[in-house]
Amino acid sequence: MSKLRVVHYINNFFAGVGGEEKADIPPQARDGVVGPGLALSKALGEEAEIVGTIICGDSYFGENTKSAKEEMLKLIEMYNPDIFVAGPAFNAGRYGFACGEMATFIEEELQIPVVSAMYKENPGVDMFKRDMHIIETEISAADMRNAVPKMAKLVLKLAKGEEVGSPAEEGYHERGIRVNYFHEKRGSERGVGLLVKKMNGEECVTEYPMPVFDRVDPLPAVADITKVKVAIVTSGGIVPQGNPDRIESSSATKYGIYDISGMNDLSADDFMTVHGGYDRAFVTENPNLVVPLDVMREMEQEGVIGELANYFVTTTGTGTSVGNAKGFGEHFARKLVEDGVGAVILTST
């Protein structure tokens, strides 16, 4: 069995090239190990070897991220790696950013397992923990001899397709991913147990901490809506009869854009709803209850709004993950911008 091939990414400081004054060095490749690669190599043992080390200055990476990534991809590809290790970056912010960007990029491009390591306050942790494993380290490089073996152990597991354990077991930062498992006790028994503890003032740990939703600053008001093109978006699941794009009744993986030009209202003959989370009877009779085309067309004709976009955007809101919804939003918002839409009315059931 040949050894797994590892490429290691480090910065100017750990490469021994220099400190801050050398943070602007462009990407370069060296065969074999450099600096902390020696410790990593020992930790990887017989199963893997570091065939190449890629070095880049933290400032250079920060200022030329796109081109640096492309350039390093070419250098990395030449080593034909099975594994990519970045850092450890400890508390160095620019280095953490570079490690996270490179690791997630390489994982996607080359489809190989990746790992890095950072201190909890390194901004790279919050930015990348969802998309990759980041071993938790102490604040300074003095923790190298604890961090490196954990990185090696975890990335070898990933490479061999072995099951990765919990954050506590493997030593990586909690990623915020929910994973199913079967407990020995049923939920109601656990619930009663937690309640008794809580009433007695004892410590009890929740099985799911409340989610946090991000915020966006409100945009300035529309100055004059009589001059603006308005578009309708809905999560109520309104689709053309027959649901030609097979949008799901719950947990939608797609959205649709449907033409309404020339229509004065949404006819029940032409449109239906697929949303699985509400009693559809009313909307089936009159889809305008969710996509108010009838009144908005009148308002357009009366000059109350400048123009109505000639399509509406739709998906199913129930059971649909925030991740998916965000993705849809990012995607169709671009089209809305391109089409000169100046305001959106988004309806939800």
């Binding site: 009433m199 097979r246 719950s250 059971g319």
Partner: protein
């Protein structure tokens, strides 16, 4: 109220001349069940088929699951207000055929009905892969209006559940469990040093295939009320819904409510189980506010030190859950929530649609968005025609060989948010 629940263990189901229980085997006269269901002229045809644990059988689309029970003594009869006269139940003696179930299925009403596999990798997600099931495949008359079809199927299930339950009337139970809750002043006085606990039971009440009934009253039309825990064991609450199959609280689950059972297990030991506050999950914001205000009022009025709250469904009922949590906390109780999660197939999104800071102690019943493989089964009871439009299904879910790829949402009661199962989720 004091109820003796006699549990008769069923270890097989077989066709027979007479519907009866003998040495643990439930014999079923299929024709008797068919004749009973066919009395409703909204039903065109009925088939009765058996599904046993370990068999290569898939049942779909499942509407409800009913455990056969019979009231042997005490006022009232099973499922009061639905198939029997309205009369307060929950006292005396009731026999249950434990390990047997009546399952209604057949052409889909909506799209929230689900799947049960009796063997294979997904069997572990539903408790009904381990019970001996009498499946009633219902065919409605042509062009039957959906609300009518739902009702016809629902009543057929309850009637047959009660009919089969009769077989247990004169059988000596294998185990008798006694449950007792006294009127509040006595109950409080019985264990003066133990914290007083209530169970806030949220009932799905959102319309077609999203309804629940309390003594025959549509929960949409209720305001929160108080119930002795044993009333539920005699069928005071019945299911008229299939919110999303994974979340569905079947009539079986009402009869066997796990929170009530587990609270009773510690009743008198480290808690004083006072009773159940019933509330609903309506589709109007004002109703949500009103119901949760009244729940908070009950918590204060009953002097509860702690409450457990369970929800049926996900999405907008998460708001009811949070409102109940907040107002119960404000009324002075410690609160524990039991719910399931929908953080997306990759587990990375937020699991709930709503959140309040008071919801700091929660039991998770698992992520319903996870995709699983269902191998083909030798026999299908019902039909697989609707899999791709059922919740949890999607384009391409159903393959030609009968295998399915879908979210576990599509499995009956897989992530049921009352804590009946052991499935949970942790943070990675």
């Amino acid at each position: 109220m004091r109820l003796e629940l006699g549990k008769i263990k069923i270890t097989d189901v077989q066709p027979g001349e007479v519907t009866k229980v003998e040495n643990g085997t439930l014999f079923v006269n299929k024709q008797e069940l068919i004749d009973l269901a066919m009395k409703d002229d909204r039903i065109k045809g009925v088939k009765v088929e058996f599904a046993r644990p370990g068999e290569s059988v898939r049942i779909a689309p499942v509407k409800d699951v009913i455990e056969p029970r019979v009231k042997v003594s005490g006022t009232g009869a099973m499922f009061p207000g639905m198939i029997n006269k309205v009369k307060t139940v929950g006292s005396g003696r009731t026999h249950a055929l434990v390990g047997a179930n009546v399952i209604t299925c057949g052409k889909i009403v909506g799209f929230q009905e689900g799947i049960i596999d009796m063997s294979g990798p997904t069997a572990k997600y539903t408790p009904f892969s381990e019970t001996f099931n009498v499946c009633i495949v219902i065919e409605p008359v042509d062009n039957l209006e959906t609300h009518d079809y739902e009702q016809a199927a629902r009543l057929a299930g309850l009637k047959i559940g009660a009919l089969v339950g009769e077989a247990g009337r004169n059988v000596e139970p294998d185990e008798v469990v006694v449950y007792e809750t006294k009127p509040i002043a006595e109950q409080t006085a019985q264990y003066p040093n133990l914290p007083k606990v209530g169970y806030i039971h949220m009932l799905q009440s959102q319309g077609l295939l999203h309804d629940t009934f309390y003594y025959g009253v549509d929960a949409k039309q209720m305001v929160p009320t108080f119930m002795y825990p044993t009333e539920i064991m005699d069928g005071a609450i019945t299911s008229g819904n299939c919110v999303a199959p994974c979340d569905k609280v079947t009539t079986f689950h009402h009869l066997n409510n796990p929170v009530i059972e587990d609270l009773y297990k510690r009743h008198g030991k480290d808690l004083n189980f006072i009773g159940v506050i019933l509330t609903n999950e309506n589709v109007f914001l004002a109703d949500k506010e009103r119901s949760s205000d009244m729940v908070g009022k009950f918590v204060e009025f009953l002097g509860l030190d702690g409450v457990i709250i369970t929800e049926e469904g996900y999405g907008n009922p998460d708001t009811d859950l949070m409102m109940n949590c907040k107002k119960s906390t404000e009324a002075g109780a410690k609160v524990v929530l039991i719910t399931d999660e929908f953080p997306g197939r990759d587990g990375k999104s937020q699991s709930l649609a709503d959140a309040v800071p008071e919801a700091d102690t929660l039991v998770s019943c698992g992520n319903g968005n996870v995709i699983v493989e269902f191998p083909p089964m030798d026999k299908v009871i019902g039909t697989l025609d609707y899999v791709e439009t059922m919740i949890g299904g999607y384009e391409g879910s159903l393959r030609k060989d009968g295998s399915i790829e879908a979210e576990i949402q599509i499995i009956i009661a897989s992530t049921i948010a009352n804590g009946y199962n052991t499935l949970s989720a942790k943070m990675y």
